[in-house]
Each structure stands twice: as C-alpha cells, then as structure tokens.
C-alpha cells in the first residue's frame, strides 16, 4: 500500500518495478515469501495431517519424501512434521506481521515526534533508544519476557519493543532531512497544520528507508521469536511454532535428524526470503544505489 502511495505521488511505480526486478535478489526473495504465504493460507488443504494429530503407530517415522504419508517424517509423538511446519508458517507470518506493524506504528510515531519537536522531547526519546540499543536485542527481549512472563504473545510484544529503535532513528533522521526542504516550508506558509505537515507532507517522503526496515524487521521478528521459543520463553508446546518445535525435538537429535533439521530449515528459508526482499527493496528505493 505504501509503495503504491509513494509511486502515485511521484509516478515511480514502473521504475520501482524495473529496479526491483533488476536486483534479482528481490525476486528470489519474493518467490520464497509467496511460497510460504501460500503454504500458510492453504495449510488445511495441503497438509497431509492435522498438526496435533498423534499417530501412535508412526512415532519418529523417518521422512518418506514424495512417496508416502509422512513426507518429512514424524516427531516423538507421531505428529507429521510437514503438517506442523505448514501450520507453523501461519504463526511465523502472523508473528512477523504483528511485530512489524506494532514497531512500525509506534516507532514511526516516536521518530516523527522527536524529529518535529526537537529539544527536550527529542533528547529524551533518542536517549531512551540509545539505552535500548546498548543491550543486545535478544537479551533485552529476554528481560522483557522475564517481566511479562513466557508465552507467544509476550514474546511478540518483547520483540516489538526491541525493534523500536531502528524505526525511530530512521524516521527521525529522514524527518530532519526533509523538514528543512523548500516544499515543507511552502506547505507551512500555505497554512498546513502540524499534524498535516507531519503525516501527509513529510511522512510519505520518509517511507523509503522505513519500507526496507520493515522487511528486515519481519525477518528479525521471526528469528528472535523463534530464538525465544527455543529458549522456552516464547510459544509453549504443543504450539507448532518453529523455534519451540526445535527445542522440543532437541533430545532426539541423534536418533531422528529430521525432527530438528526441518523446523530450522523453515526458519532459515523464511528469514532468508524476507532479507532478500529487503535487499531488493533497498536496491529499488535507495536513489544513491541507483546511480551506481
């Protein structure tokens, strides 16, 4: 949506598409992401089994690949790994979407306020962000989960909080650049109010780096939530969250390699997909790179 808004205002959509396609990595990433989205949406139709269906006769069944009923094998309770991964894709995509939406909205808002207000407000917001950046994201997320208690929702909240500084700093930096430009002065003289200046005039011109950040935020969200799940602080079993599945299966790693390998591979491919899209978006949206 934001892409089209951006393109409409300056007539850049064809150019954007050309650069995005030319970067190639973006197209590969988009392919991966689309595949994942399809698997998530059509999980009930595509999955060979229900995600929580325990087939007692087939515990730790090795993968049958394309030939049989358990393409990627079963776990220690006889649940089909592929089916759980497909339902897990729904979770991971929702996690990414919720986390990015939350941190995008709050972070952009804070960045706009800091950039426009300046002075004490700016200093306060930015020092708070510096403080959050002083701790590694995973450790900060762990501390937040310690306060809120373990669980998928709290893990998502923690990861959203941890991701704020990126959005705040990018928005503020872009606002500071845009604010001094002539078109903003012109709108101000034409009588545009502060809210109009902030949201309708300056914000659309700050979106390019934010879109790239959102795409990278998506992959970080999935990675960090999975890590929290792996540490037992995120989603709790029997939720088919990929990180939790991995932690759950860890004790069988020596006898049944597939229970550990495939959830991790799913995380890797998803994160890789969103990072590739982010790279492609950066190539297409960053005017400095276009010149090169």
């Amino acid at each position: 949506m934001s892409e089209t808004a951006l393109a409409r205002s300056v007539g850049l959509l064809p150019e954007f598409r050309r650069h995005f396609v030319a970067s190639r990595s973006g197209v590969i990433g988009l392919g991966l992401v689309l595949l994942l989205v399809l698997a998530a949406i059509f999980a009930p139709l595509l999955a060979p089994h229900a995600p929580d269906n325990q087939i007692r006769t087939a515990i730790l069944h090795p993968p049958t690949w394309l030939a049989g009923v358990f393409p990627l094998g079963t776990d220690d309770l006889g649940r089909d790994v592929l089916s759980r991964l497909m339902y897990g894709a729904r979770l991971s995509l929702s996690i990414g979407a919720v986390v990015v939406t939350l941190s995008f909205l709050v972070g952009t808002m804070l960045g706009l306020i800091a950039g426009f207000a300046g002075g004490v407000v700016d200093a306060l917001v930015m020092r708070l962000m510096d403080m959050m950046l002083a701790l590694p994201t995973l450790l900060l997320a762990i501390a937040v989960v310690a306060i809120l208690g373990p669980g998928l929702f709290n893990a998502m909240l923690a990861v959203s909080i941890v991701q704020l500084p990126g959005f705040v700093r990018l928005t503020r930096a872009a606002v500071l650049v845009e604010r001094s430009k002539d078109y903003v002065a012109a709108s101000r003289m034409a009588g545009a109010g502060r809210a109009r200046l902030m949201f309708l005039i300056v914000l659309p011109n700050c979106l390019a780096p934010l879109i790239v950040q959102a795409s990278l935020g998506f992959s970080n969200a999935i990675l960090d939530t999975a890590a929290l799940g792996f540490l037992g602080l995120g989603a709790q079993p029997p939720t088919p969250e990929w990180g939790t599945m991995l932690a759950d299966a860890l004790q069988f790693v020596q006898s049944a390699w597939w229970v550990v390998t495939f959830p991790g591979l799913a995380i890797l491919l998803t994160v890789l997909g969103f990072n590739l899209v982010g790279d492609g978006l950066r190539d297409a949206l960053d005017p400095r790179l276009k010149l090169g």
């Binding site: 990595s25 020092r127 708070l128 510096d130 403080m131 950046l133 002083a134 701790l135 590694p136 994201t137 995973l138 450790l139 762990i142 501390a143 310690a146 306060i147 208690g149 992959s219 990675l223 999975a226 890590a227 792996f230 540490l231 037992g232 602080l233 990180g243 991995l246 860890l250 790693v253 020596q254 390699w257 550990v260 390998t261 959830p263 991790g264 591979l265 995380i267 890797l268 994160v271 890789l272 990072n275 590739l276 790279d279 090169g292």
Partner: protein, 359 residues
C-alpha cells in the same frame, strides 16, 4: 585610541594545532556525555526490573514454604525493599559502585563474583568467533568487490546473506550433528575434557592450558572451542563480508584510487594499501557494533554447547527466577557493551578526522 591587534574573542583558537586539540576534546566530551546518560538509563532499567517482575522477591526466596510474617518483614528490612523507591535506587547505585550487586538467590554467591567467573569464558568464545569472522569475512568481501557482478560475487554474497539469516541455535545443532555425532571429530559440550584439570590463571582456557604445558590439554580446549566459535562467528562473518564489499566498492570508485592506478602501481598495492585502508573504517565500526549481538548470540550458543559463560549463566538465572543475577547481569553486560562501543567510536574518530569533525 589604539586598536588591539588581536581582539580577545579570537584568542581562543590561536594555532591550527590548538584548534584541532579543542575539537578532539570536544568530540571526546560529547561521546562521554552520551555514554553517561545511556548508562544512567540502564541502571534505572536494571533497578526497575526487580520491581516490574511479578511477585515479591522475598516470597520467591522462600518459595512454597510457609514463613511467619515477622520473619518476612525482617527480611524485607534487611534487603531494604521496605524503603521508598528513590532511596532504594540510591542504595542500588551506591552498592553497585562498590562492586556489590547483591547475591544470587540460588547459590548465595555475590552476583559480581559469579559474573567475573563466567565472563572470561564468554570473552574467549566471542574473541575466537570474531577472529574467525574477520579472517574470513574481510577477504571474502574484498574478493566479492573486486569480482563485482561475477559468479564469485554472487556466490559469496549469497552465502553471506544465508549466514546473516541463519538461526544460530539451529546452525549450532547442525554443526554438532555433523562434526561431533557423525564424524566424531569434536566434543559436544563444555570447555575442556574432564580428564584435565587446568588451574585457572587467566580464566581463558586456551591460554591456561598452554601455560600448563600439556599439549593434550591445549588440543582438548581447542577442539571444545572450535564449534561454538564457528556457530557464534557466522552472523558477524556475514555482516563483515557484506560491509567490506560495499565499503570496498565505494572506495574503488574514488579519484585517488584511479590516480594510484594511473600512476602504474601494482593492483595489489592499490587494493591492499590505498583502497583497503579507507574501506576498513566502516568495517571497524561494524565490528564494534557486532559486540552487542555477539553477547545476544552467546546466550544461544552457550546454552547449546553447555559453555560455562555469561549467556548460559543469565539463562539459568531466568529459569531459576534468580532475579538478582538477571538484574546484575544485564547491568554488567550493558556496561561492557557500552565501553566497547565507546572505545571503537573513539578509535574510529581518532583514525578518521571526517567523523571527528562532523557534528
């Protein structure tokens, strides 16, 4: 009336050297000021942590047991959590400044003492990981930049992005599966084989085992270190390779590189001396910034390899609801990261005048 040759307001900056010195001092003062504010914020957060966590720390200490209210009140008074918050915060800072970060609820040892016991293991792991990342990442980035647009470039950058996207808890398990379980080359966990007793001199197992003079002990320590270091070094490696490539590409377009080439200098000299020096500045910054994420990664890596470091200690603290450990640990980890970042900032500022002069 006589006009003074040097009006007083121009006296402040007499010589270029003195002006330069003023700039450096100003740069250091600004950075230091920001760091102090950040650190103050961290102390508030880490202080608040114990109050934000649901439940009463005293009740947690006693667990399920029934304790009479008078004892509880006495305990509260002893720890000081019956005082006003601002007094408690003041005491927290006062004690922290004297190296007293409280006691672990689980072991009753001092939090600082435990941190200092586990810290060298984490430093050893992190430094090894960074060494792997730098020795592979920088050459990989340079090669990709020099072969821009070729298959080599795409392969290196594809691998780098895969490494960057890697869930390292899974990567660590794969490494164990391949090298420890299948090939039997490396041990699965710990820092050294239990057959060896190494007297801790420096706290760094590699150095201590070397001092002990037993080559077997050194080999054992090294084989325990290698897999965790690879797992932890993967993401920094990818970040460094990507950063080196883009910094190198930028520098290779500069006029002075063209001049150096036009002068007929050998390509090795142009790349290795003229270009690399400037390209390394952003790379050094990125290496400094990676220290923070190394600590984050260490939490996962140490958990998987049962590496007795700070990350493992913090996770155990969470699982045991040992809040003083969490509180003190977060404060200390943040302090280390802030100090490392400050050092890198100052180093880069001193090396690169363009940053020092930017406001």
């Amino acid at each position: 009336m006589r006009v003074h040759p040097h009006p007083p307001r121009y006296r402040a900056a007499t010589s270029p050297a003195e002006r330069e010195r003023c700039r450096v001092v100003g740069f250091l003062a600004r950075r230091l000021g920001l760091v102090l504010v950040t650190f103050f914020g961290i102390t508030v957060f880490s202080f608040a942590l114990i109050h934000l966590i649901p439940g009463d720390p005293i009740m947690l200490m006693f667990g399920e047991r029934n304790v009479d209210p008078a004892t509880l009140a006495a305990m509260r008074a002893q720890i000081g959590i019956d005082r006003p918050l601002i007094v408690q915060y003041g005491l927290f800072i006062w004690h922290a400044l004297h190296g007293n970060l409280g006691q672990s609820l689980a072991t009753h040892d001092s939090v600082l003492g435990e941190f200092l016991t586990f810290f060298p293991a984490t430093v050893e792991l992190a430094v090894s990981a960074m060494l792997i990342a730098v020795t592979i990442g920088i050459p990989a980035g340079i090669i990709a930049a020099l072969r821009r647009g070729t298959t080599t470039d795409y392969t290196v950058m594809g691998l780098a992005l895969t490494g960057y996207s890697m869930p390292i808890f899974w990567w660590a398990i794969l490494l164990i599966l391949l090298f420890s379980v299948t090939l039997g080359l490396t041990p699965v966990s710990g820092r050294i084989d239990i057959a060896y007793y190494i007297h801790p001199v420096t706290g760094f197992m590699l150095i201590d085992s070397l001092i002990s003079g037993d080559p077997g002990a050194f080999r054992s320590a090294l084989s325990h270190l290698i897999l965790p270091a690879i797992a932890l070094g993967t993401i920094p490696l990818a970040v460094i390779a990507r950063m080196t490539r883009s910094a190198m590409l930028e520098v290779l377009n500069e006029d002075y590189v063209r001049t150096a080439r036009a002068k007929g200098l050998s390509p090795l000299r142009v790349v290795g001396i003229h270009a690399l020096r400037n390209a390394l500045i952003p790379v050094i910054t990125i290496i400094g910034l990676q220290v923070g994420s190394l600590f984050g990664g260490a939490v996962l890596t140490e958990t998987i390899f049962a590496w007795p470091g700070v990350g493992n200690w913090l996770i155990q603290g969470i699982n045991r609801r040992d809040y003083p450990v969490l509180q003190g640990g977060i404060l200390l980890v943040a302090a280390v990261i802030i100090l490392v970042n400050l050092t890198v900032d100052i180093l880069v500022g001193v090396v690169n005048p363009r940053i020092r002069h930017a406001r």
